[in-house]
Symmetry: C2
């Protein structure tokens, strides 16, 4: 490619990008607030060529927690709803499960038992419903569940219960050359089935908890079988470790909602040679969503990270105050039957 | 962005891409041969919109082994040379190593001892030289080693001993919308230090062997410390498993050189719903590089994969016959002192 060609490309792309920015007001579901101003200003600052805070495109890495940050985690994390529905569906074919006290606890919704003894029951239920199948079979199960299950409160598909304001943040960042990643305690295989369609995040940018998979030729066809060992839990200090392992560079933006995200907020924002941005989604809206933060033993507990936010310069998004809308409009196609 | 803007971008980008293709003959270091023809034809077929074999850009994933495929693995894998040089350098500060029989074996070049008992000595030497440091310290060590060490035969920096024909394949694929990944038994942390500069492959597209890292705030600064446990070896059946874990979709092109790449060649090419392409770099040139394939107990052993190549449709690149040049020209800046 000649130098003139490169220049031609660069100039035209920059014109196109301007067209993009002029086309629509960014973040329409965010009310005018210090939160929205801080977000837009950061993105403008680090993408203005020649500016003091400019960050080259290759280093524009933004990481997002999923449960509680991009979609709700109530009344339980959605993947747990999938596991419980799977248990019920597969029970007739697995009569031995009827004598299994952890399965019994799950079926009667006894979360105290499931979460006791270091989440032993929960992990057991996940193991029964997530492992021993090929990755293709698992993808099919998750896809079928999404098509048929309904969130009990909003009576819509789980993958329609995503935060519209955060979809707009994802789009705004990508329009400005950021690479958007999920870094979640949820299972990577579970999220990858729908992350591209719902969030525009391709499978290679989904980092989550995972277990070992084994490769084999089965009847001459390559398959990967999900195993219930060597489980990596992508939470707390595991998140910066996974970011290193999968991305291999420090993010400059981090979005979370709980103490499980504190370590990756620290990794992103403390002493980063690049200007960095951290944001906490604070669940303050009991009417439109749920209001919670410091309640103990919940996957969305937010206490230490909230206490440190001011000192660390993390922006706290107040869902009730800052969000004009919580969920996307129901489209005709999306409306639950 | 308006529809007109999008069209403007698309048309202009396509003009630029044409300029690119017209600017230079692709793969100049490959001699005209069935190998080169097959490679170029596959890329043309799957990137011709409207063609029967067209593959959308998002699915154009190409995976490359590193040792023996993108650079040599003789007289020993380059990362082992790094480990041995590190041992020698750090010996004065670690007097206890002098009584360590595995260190002694390494220092006298006794590979039979290092490789015996399931590579126990080798893993021990790697552990001594790769772990217990922060990722930033490790990056610095690798960078310093590359600046100072010389390949004993070619008397040039190790990162200048890369295969020019394969650099051209990487560039040709990227120009045609492929995402190029390394999937190597080498350490991910070792390769990421130089993969972007040398191959144009960014850290997030480098998959390799890895160990656990732990996150901590040390004197208030976030650091990741490399640990010698939970080691994942990215070789043989581990390669398709790692591809699933890191990329989450099947590649359509796979390049390897040894039986360690057989499983990922199978995963890429057998019963893939997309047209797929597998290539084996066959080391046939003892004059310009090294000639070997079926020798036992080498990291580059090529036997089963070579036997299956015809049946599986894998293209075998004969280095002696197919490559006009093996290494890049020495530039003034690259010339060793």
């Amino acid at each position: 490619m000649t130098r003139t060609n490169w220049l031609c490309c660069a100039v035209l792309l920059s014109l196109c990008a301007d067209g993009l920015a002029l086309g629509a007001e960014p973040l329409p579901s965010w009310r005018d607030s210090p939160t929205k101003t801080a977000l837009l200003k950061y993105v403008a600052d680090v993408t203005t060529e020649g500016g003091a805070k400019y960050i080259p495109a290759a280093e524009r890495v933004a990481v997002f927690d999923n449960d509680g940050t991009l979609w709700p985690e109530n009344p339980m994390p959605f993947q747990l709803a999938f596991a419980l529905d799977s248990l019920k569906r597969d029970l007739p074919e697995n009569p031995a499960w009827r004598d299994d006290p952890q399965v019994q606890a799950a079926l009667r919704g006894d979360f105290a038992t499931l979460l006791g003894d270091h989440h032993r029951g929960l992990l057991h239920v996940i193991a029964l419903t997530h492992f021993g199948v090929t990755t293709a079979e698992f993808d099919g199960r998750v896809g079928h569940w999404l098509e048929t299950a309904q969130h009990p409160r909003w009576q819509r598909r789980y993958d329609q219960c995503v935060y519209q304001p955060m979809l707009e943040v994802l789009a705004h960042l990508r329009q400005h050359g950021f690479k958007t990643y999920i870094v979640s305690g949820g299972g990577a295989d579970f999220m990858r089935v729908w992350s591209e369609r719902v969030y525009g995040i391709p499978p290679e940018q989904v980092i989550g908890s995972y277990g070992k998979v084994t490769f084999e030729l089965r009847d001459g066809q390559p398959v990967l079988v999900k195993q219930a060992d060597q489980i990596f839990v992508d939470d707390k200090e595991g998140k910066p470790a996974a970011i290193h392992q999968f991305i291999g560079r420090r993010p400059v933006m981090c979005f979370g909602n709980s103490d499980g995200d504190k370590a990756m907020l620290e990794y992103t924002t403390i002493a980063n040679p690049r200007p960095a941005f951290g944001l906490i989604v604070h669940h303050t809206d009991g009417e439109r969503e749920y209001a919670y933060d410091r309640r103990p033993r919940s996957s969305g507990k937010l206490s230490e990270a909230l206490d440190q936010a001011a000192q660390r310069g993390w922006v706290v998004a107040d869902m009730k105050r800052d969000w004009e809308r919580v969920f996307p409009e129901r489209s005709a196609a999306q409306t639950a039957p």
